[in-house]
Point group: C2
Chain length 125, copies 2
Amino acid sequence: MELRQLEYFLMVCEVNSFTRAAERLYVSQPAVTSAIKSLEDELGIQLFDRTLKQAVLTSEGQVFYKHIQHVMHGVSQTLSEIDNLKNLNTGTIVLGITPLAGIAPLPQQLAAFAEIYSDKTDRRG
Amino acid sequence: MELRQLEYFLMVCEVNSFTRAAERLYVSQPAVTSAIKSLEDELGIQLFDRTLKQAVLTSEGQVFYKHIQHVMHGVSQTLSEIDNLKNLNTGTIVLGITPLAGIAPLPQQLAAFAEIYSDKTDRRG
DNA sequence: TAATATTACGTATTACGTAAAGATT
DNA sequence: AATCTTTACGTAATACGTAATATTA
């Protein structure tokens, strides 16, 4: 099971069509068919009913859908948080000071840092 | 980002070593190195500090770890639920009856079904 | 030097697109 | 007939293992 397959799966669920899902994912229809098929094979269940004009979830597919929605939401949140870390919107600064260095230059350095990131710094006292 | 990479990542976190993670995953060390490295490249952050003898999470790695734990737990739950569905431990039976068929044979048929799956049937009235 | 992680490289797997065929209304 | 899905197949990308190299205590 791969995230790519799950992504394709959610898209097919949303648009109820392999063709339209492929369009939105910017891949070919066969790519979607193949991904969903291998997913079904691995899970050992059929996810969609293709007998109708629309691709509609089977009852098992519905169960899978609910779970996978949560999983992919978690993935999204993870990537967002990582992006925040990279942009320094979130983060923790660890200060280490040796006795010899002294604390004399500290206030000035902290002020300089806060100045640079003035729009992003949360000054707690 | 792929589930395989996340699986490798969690294992390295657990054992604090690429070598031991590889052993537990039944793959070679280079496979783990490569998977983690491509994950780091894609995320744009460094997940582990390798300067020490042990592979230890960076601060960003710790954030990623917490999120991914939840994601993978969700994946596990999903697979468990699907297994339950396949084993008929969970499921919904939809009954459809046409007027012509009549309801006369129904009680007998339901009784027969409940008999077969007596250990798994939740009879609600 | 002993233990650990990385790099190099050849092989096998597979995701993809194009083209053709099958299936349902 | 028209629309949607699947199958066939060739190509490009990549996951893996073995072997060699680098790095740190």
